[in-house]
Every structure is written in C-alpha cells, then in structure tokens.
C-alpha cells in the first residue's frame, strides 16, 4: 500500500526501480543464436586441446626439473655423508681446549699470592716464631717480639 509523503514516494521509487532493474537484467541476456554461435565457434575445441597440451608440457617440464634436482641431491648424498662422517670423526678425535685446561692446571698450580710471605720462611723460623725464640742472628727482628 502506497501512502502519501516521503516514505510513500520512496516506496514507489523502489518499486519502479526494481521493475527497471529486472528489465535491465533481462535486456542484458544474449539470444539463443548468439549462445549457439559462440559455443560452435570453429576451432574452439582445437584451441582447448592446444592449451591443454601446452599446460601438460609445462607440468611435465616442472616435474622434470624437480626430478633432476632430486637426482642431483641423490648423487650428492654419499659425498655429503662422507663429509659429515669426517667432520664428526675429526671433532671427536681432536681434544678440545676446554678439556686441556683442568688437566694442565692441576700440576702447575701455583700458591696463592697472599701466602707468598708465609712460604718464604723456613720451617725453623716458623717454629721459632711460634715459640717466641729467635733462631737466627741476634737483633734480627724476623720473629714476634
């Protein structure tokens, strides 16, 4: 139901426009003759076959490229394997620096610097010092007084 006023006018417009839209769509339709002519276009199937064959060739070439790559990789596998074995073996046989350090440092260990003075006394001096008696020359203030 159409009413007066703006909404009614809009409704009428929409209805009209819908009708015209329908006509527009129908007008865009092709005739049967045109459809048949395009479908029966000469050499259409031939062109399809040519494109299919070209596509098949392209796919085959791509596959060939992958296969040749895989073949190359396959040939390289023994060489790579040998290289890997040599690398692992050389790593295992060569002693590393981190392993050398502790062994070398045990024998050559030096006394800490703070104890150097202590170790410079002889055993007698130390005993004398502990007993409060001078064992060396008189007047020498090496012990505790």
């Amino acid at each position: 139901m159409l009413t007066n006023g703006k909404s009614g006018k809009d409704e009428l417009n929409d209805e009209t426009l819908n009708r015209f839209s329908g006509e527009l769509l129908r007008a865009s339709e092709a005739g049967e003759a045109e459809i048949s002519t395009a479908a029966a276009s000469p050499f259409l199937y031939r062109r399809i076959r040519v494109r299919i064959e070209a596509e098949e060739r392209r796919i085959a070439q791509q596959r060939g490229a992958w296969l040749s790559l895989l073949t190359g990789v396959k040939h390289a596998i023994p060489a790579l394997l040998a290289f890997a074995v040599v690398a692992v073996a050389s790593l295992m046989l060569t002693p590393s620096h981190s392993q050398q350090w502790p062994a070398a440092s045990v024998g050559n260990e030096e006394p800490p610097t703070l104890l150097l003075d202590v170790f410079s006394f002889s055993q007698d001096e130390l005993i004398a010092s502990a007993a409060g008696v001078e064992a060396g020359q008189p007047g020498n203030g090496g012990g505790t007084k």
């Binding site: 417009n13 009209t16 426009l17 009708r19 045109e34 479908a39 029966a40």
Partner: protein, 232 residues
C-alpha cells in the same frame, strides 16, 4: 536455464537426448575432431562413463563431453560478458579447468557432471569479472551523454506509469550499466534473477555461504537501484 544447471539423472544425459536439447544441429561436432572417435565412444555413454574414459587418456571421450556441454557454458558466459570473444575465452578456460580436475569429479547422484561443470564455469566467470575490473576495463561501463539521456527518458516513462515493455532498453546499454556493479554483486544478481536459482543453489555454485549470498543479493539489488536513481 534452471534445469540445465540443476542436477539431472545421468540416464537422461545420453548423447542423442543431450544433442537435441542443445539444439545445435550440425554444428555439434567440434572442429579438430574426426568421425572415427564415435567408434571408440558410443553415443549412449553417460557423462560419468565419458569422464571415466577421459581419465584414462581417451581424448575422444573428453571431446564428447565438450560437445554435450559447451552450450551450457556459453550460456553462462553470456550472463556476465557481452562479447563473443570473452565468452569463447570462458568456454576454453572452463573446459581446461574441468580437464585438469577430472580426477576430483566424483560423479553419480547429486553431483552430476552438469552441475560440476556449471560450478567450474561460474567460478571462471567470477574470476574473469574480477580480473576485468582490476585491469580497469571499465570503458564499457561508461555511458555517453546520449545513452544517459535515453536511459533517463525511459526511467521517467516507467515512473510515470509506463509499462516495462515500453521502456525496453538495448542490451548494450544494459551491459554498460551492469558493468558498474561489483563482480560478486553482478554474479549473484544474474544467478538469482536470470537463472532463477535459489540461495542454496547459488551458494553451491559459487562456494559462498548462504549468509554471504543473501547479503550480496540485498547489496546488489540496492546497488542497482542506487545506480538507476542517479539517472532519474
């Protein structure tokens, strides 16, 4: 047109019947094929049987499928493209895609070859519509002053109570106007209004969800009204 895209029982797609329904008479034999192919594939073979034969590399089986269904693809192509060269390109592209997708075709029952091929053709049309729009081939959508004036006059006649037949417009002009719609909008409109397909059928053909098809349908109709309103 609806029957052509909708599912059909395989038995009814036997070659003689299909040939008659295509109404193409003597032009049915595709160029580049010879008569001895009929010795390999009998005319009574169903689409599924032909697909099975084509899968094994039988070229004549695929040419028979092409013969049977090229008109369907041509009709679909003309729904979206006005020029013959464009439609021929759609036919070629659709059949090439179909050829390479034969292994995916499951056949039988609801998934008949016709609907399967129609799906491929519709998607090919959609891709081409988008490509055309991306390339900026919008010259066809540009109306000349005369054409705009003509349309304006027709619309005024119609809004003044004139009948639709009286406001007949040319196909060229209609295509120019429809070319202004977005590809997906135009796709939905054509399938909905011209093919008279349901939302579910369009969803099946395009691969879109039904909600998306409904939304596109509303948007397309609104877009077309807006387009026409500008001319009023």
């Amino acid at each position: 047109m609806k029957e052509r895209i909708a599912e059909r029982p395989q038995a009814s797609i036997a070659a003689p019947a299909a040939k008659a329904s295509l109404g193409m008479g003597e032009v049915e034999t595709p160029a580049g094929t010879n008569d001895d192919m009929s010795a390999e594939t009998t005319p009574e073979m169903t689409d599924d049987e032909l697909v099975a034969a084509a899968r094994t590399g039988d070229e004549s089986a695929f040419s028979r499928l092409f013969e049977r269904h090229r008109r369907l693809v041509s009709r679909l192509g003309y729904r979206f493209f006005p020029r013959r060269d464009q439609v021929e390109e759609i036919i070629q592209e659709s059949f090439i895609k179909a050829y390479f997708a034969l292994d995916d075709y499951q056949g039988g029952g609801e998934k008949s070859f016709v609907s399967w091929l129609a799906r491929i053709a519709v998607r090919t049309c959609y891709d081409e519509l988008r490509r055309t729009r991306r390339r900026g081939e919008s010259s066809i959508g540009d109306l000349s002053e005369d054409e705009a004036a003509y349309l304006h006059e027709r619309l005024r006649d119609l809004s003044a109570g004139g009948n639709v037949e009286g406001a007949a417009i040319s196909r060229d002009l209609a295509n120019k106007l429809l070319a202004r719609l977005r590809p997906d909008d135009r796709m939905v409109l054509a399938l909905l209004k011209l093919e008279e397909l349901s939302i579910a059928e369009i969803s099946n053909l395009t691969g879109w969800t039904t909600a998306k098809v409904k939304m596109r349908s509303h948007r397309a109709q609104r877009g077309l009204r807006q387009l026409l309103r500008k001319l009023l």
